[in-house]
């Protein structure tokens, strides 16, 4: 269980920033340039609660929380109680966490100020085998909010106390305060602006959040900020600009496990910063097309100033340009396309000047410096479709990308040049054609053909022998229809073939490339017996095999030189593993009253896997073969007023290892 002690609100904001950054990776409009929608956060009264218990294979997890909100005209109170437990039966460890954070405030003071007091007690209790450990952390301090300012501001300051013992051999009840190690310090935090609120009623959004904590065992400063501006133009076009920045400087301390027992662990001091500058243009429809353009620059740096031996400092930069084009709905075809080009660079041990000649003191650094790279990545997606009113139509999707990396660094050692030989091109080309051949009144049917070609191309002679080209071919069909008044049936079939070829077969002699095939069929039947009872049945049949495609060009030189062998030799597909998987699932869904949903059923899986035994030249049963019978029960109940519960319980009787899969949750507010 991760139990880092950082201000909870700040964690949430950092998480939002990370999600935005991840979202910006794909081809499409930059997530940082999306105008946020205002989320209204009014004063509320009530109790929110949630509990979730899960058991999967050998790990039990429990998360329970209660949040009490009480607001009157002049006072506000928020008190939460969170408890989580992870019980790992494989590791024989238990990890408990309690958090009782809360806040009380007096509102509507002169000048629109609110004042309050916040507290954040956190307790962690871990056991591993016979050893136990405890950590308590308490932050307490005033909070002041300036709500009537043009820009909302909140300031938090306070004291922090931490106490822990990571070698508790006695029980908790026998422990005294003197058994604990202690640490104290202070924290301060500030929030300025809201990311979803216009600034001064202008098309401008800005927000900043900062948090700092100084303890004698660990010091930490973290901050995030973002600015977004947009300007609609008279001709319908819009311009966008954004800047976002985040910084983490310090070290976290947490209760974890190290050296086969619970331990108070301090992360190495680290400085991590990410920022991104971006600009965008979204055009109004011209002819029948809507164009968009985006440019961005992002930089991420990570350094460990004290743990210099870690040699993990690095700096990543990325210049990115995106062009998007889509057809307006009145155009006869539906069209969406885009091209994205990134110029990337990774500089390990940035800021460190290194010689190009190896010596005893910096050879490790030189070796790591070899991993620096320059790269560019081009991605293009295109989707064209045409569907008529009766549902008949077709769609074509085309995605292609190229990722090119060069490793420019080298050094000399004993007059030899040492360099990274991983310079490569990765090119992925995917195409899919989907046809809807019949009117929708006859049922929903699709036919599709999918093709992808994946090229892995090392440039240098040391690696180019591994260059491969992969092809995937897939054809499939789906059909779904209502055959009787209350009965729907659907069928999906597909067939795959995956082929790999080495670019240089002559130096891969004796090592033929992989080949695999797969055929699947999924039949689903749903029927309603009455309004309250329905039955669902699924039959899934899958056959797959994998092995090597033994063709003449991969024969080793000894066999090639044997005329008797070559006289009768024919290329063949040598199957290493054959897998026949049968799954039958039957479920009865009962809905006795409107708010109750119950499902009772059972799934049966037969995994008939065989692997080739080179000694006997026969196929024997694979270690992964087996049967699994999985009775399951699902229940969900809505109690009204936002209170509801859900339970999903499955026990898997497996010939290899039986296991539970349980998830029970309840949540609500009143």
């Amino acid at each position: 269980m991760r139990a880092v002690i950082v201000h909870k609100g700040f964690c949430f904001i950092m998480l939002l920033g990370m999600i935005a950054a991840i979202g910006a990776q794909g081809i499409g409009w930059n997530a940082g340039l999306v105008i946020p929608e205002r989320v209204s956060v009014g004063d509320s009264n009530g109790i929110h609660f949630g509990a979730q218990q899960g058991l999967y294979i050998k790990k039990f997890t429990s998360k329970d929380s209660v949040l009490v909100n009480k607001n009157t005209g002049n006072y506000g109170l928020r008190q939460s109680a969170d408890y989580s437990l992870t019980n790992d039966y494989w590791l024989l460890s238990q990890e408990h966490s309690f958090d009782l954070s809360g806040e009380i405030e007096k509102k509507h003071l002169p000048l629109g100020i609110s004042c309050g007091l916040e507290w954040s007690p956190v307790f962690l209790y871990n056991t591993h085998s016979s050893v136990k450990s405890l950590l308590g952390s308490f932050e307490l301090g005033p909070v002041v909010r300036f709500e009537s300012f043009p820009v909302p501001v909140a300031v938090h300051v306070g004291g922090a106390l931490r106490a822990w013992n990571d070698s508790l051999y006695s029980s908790l009840s026998q422990m005294s305060y003197m058994d604990l190690q202690k640490d104290k310090g202070m924290y301060a935090a500030m929030e300025i602006g809201r990311h979803d609120e216009r600034l001064f009623n202008l098309p401008l959004f800005a927000s900043f959040t900062g948090y700092g904590r100084s303890m004698s065992t660990s010091k930490l400063i973290a901050a995030t900020g973002s600015v977004l501006a947009y300007q609609p133009l008279d001709n319908g076009d819009s311009l966008f600009g954004a800047y976002s920045d985040s910084l983490l400087n310090g070290r976290n301390a947490f209760l974890g496990q190290s050296g086969a027992k619970p331990h108070f662990i301090e992360d190495p001091l680290k400085i991590e910063r990410s920022y991104q500058l971006s600009a965008g243009y979204k055009g109004a429809a011209k002819l029948f097309l809507e164009p968009s353009l985006l440019f961005s620059y992002s930089e991420h740096t990570l350094s460990y100033p004290i743990e210099t031996n870690l040699l993990s400092d690095r700096k990543n930069t990325d210049y990115s340009a995106v062009a998007l084009l889509s057809a307006v709905p009145s155009f006869p075809l539906s069209y969406n396309g885009g091209i994205k080009i990134d110029w990337e660079n990774e500089d390990k041990l940035y800021g460190k000047t290194l010689s190009t000649v190896a010596n005893a003191t910096d050879e490790d650094s030189l070796k790591i410096n070899l991993e620096d790279y320059d790269a560019y990545r081009i991605t293009m997606t295109q989707a064209v479709s045409k569907f008529w009113a009766n549902g008949i139509g077709l769609e074509y999707d085309f995605d292609i990308s190229r990722f090119t990396r060069n490793y420019p660094n080298y050094y000399t050692k004993n007059s030899d040049t040492v360099r990274n030989t991983n310079d490569n091109d990765l090119i992925v080309n995917k195409q899919k054609l989907t046809v809807v051949p019949i009117p929708s009144v006859w049922g929903n049917a699709t036919l599709y053909y999918e093709f992808s070609k994946n090229l892995s191309n090392y440039i240098r002679k040391e690696k180019s022998g591994q260059n491969t080209i992969d092809w995937l071919y897939r054809v499939g069909a789906t059909y779904k229809n209502t055959v009787f008044a209350r009965c729907t049936v659907s069928e999906a079939v597909s067939a795959d073939a995956k082929v790999t070829r080495y670019a240089f077969p002559s130096i891969n002699r004796g090592n033929p490339p992989p080949y695999s095939r797969k055929f699947t069929s999924l039949t689903v039947l749903n029927t309603s017996i009455t309004k309250k009872i329905s039955i669902s049945a699924e039959i899934n049949e899958t056959y797959s095999d994998n092995g090597t495609l033994n063709s003449r060009e991969y024969l080793d030189t000894i066999k090639l030189a044997d005329p008797e062998f070559m006289k009768t030799y024919q290329d063949y597909y040598a199957i290493d593993e054959k897998l026949m998987m049968h799954t039958i699932k039957f479920a009865c869904i009962v809905n006795p009253v409107d708010s109750w949903y119950t499902t009772l059923g059972c799934a049966y899986l037969l995994n008939d896997a065989k692997i080739y035994d080179i000694l006997t030249n026969t196929y024997g049963t694979s270690p992964s073969a087996g049967r699994r019978v999985s009775p399951f029960f699902k229940l969900s109940k809505v109690l009204g007023k936002g209170i509801g519960g859900n339970a999903e319980i499955t026990y898997n009787f497996d010939t290899n290892e039986s296991f539970w899969d349980v998830l029970i949750s309840i949540s609500g507010e009143f």
Binding site: P268, I427, L472
Partner: protein, 175 residues
Amino acid sequence: MVLQRLLSAIAICVFFNVFSCGIFSPRPVENPISTIPDDPFNFASILWNTGKNFSKLEYTDLFDQSLEYIDINGRVYYKNEVINHLNTTQRRLTVQSVVWAKDTASPDLVISDTTYIANRIYSVSLVDTLQKTYAFSDKASFKLGYNSTINAWTIFEWVDKFPGYSVFHPLFSPQ
């Protein structure tokens, strides 16, 4: 109206055909001198005797894009961090031996035909340039998925039960 539609269609065609100008073509390569893929940590042996194999052993292919390396404290490290660490470690230390043995107490599990859980007990021994030995032994659990784009089994979750920083942990550094 017809002219506008025609111009729009031409614009789409021009945009669509950017790929034909060579930017998606590979560079020429040098004639190879070697064919043995690098696998100093012997990841290939994780799937020995299972009927499956890692047909792509380069780290960029072996590890799924969504890879999560989870240490004993539940802390998560992602693909780039793991690859950076493995690359730098194998440059700084010499791997003497790596064994990924099946864990009889926790047999492998087939979740579906494209998802597989392999539980292993590993022991790794490495030496640095001063012949100082680093040895690690503990349990690891791998969740594998079949990636149909590259036609290969890949690792998308790696739980390392070593209490502290094993050689695979992105914060491990030889002292």
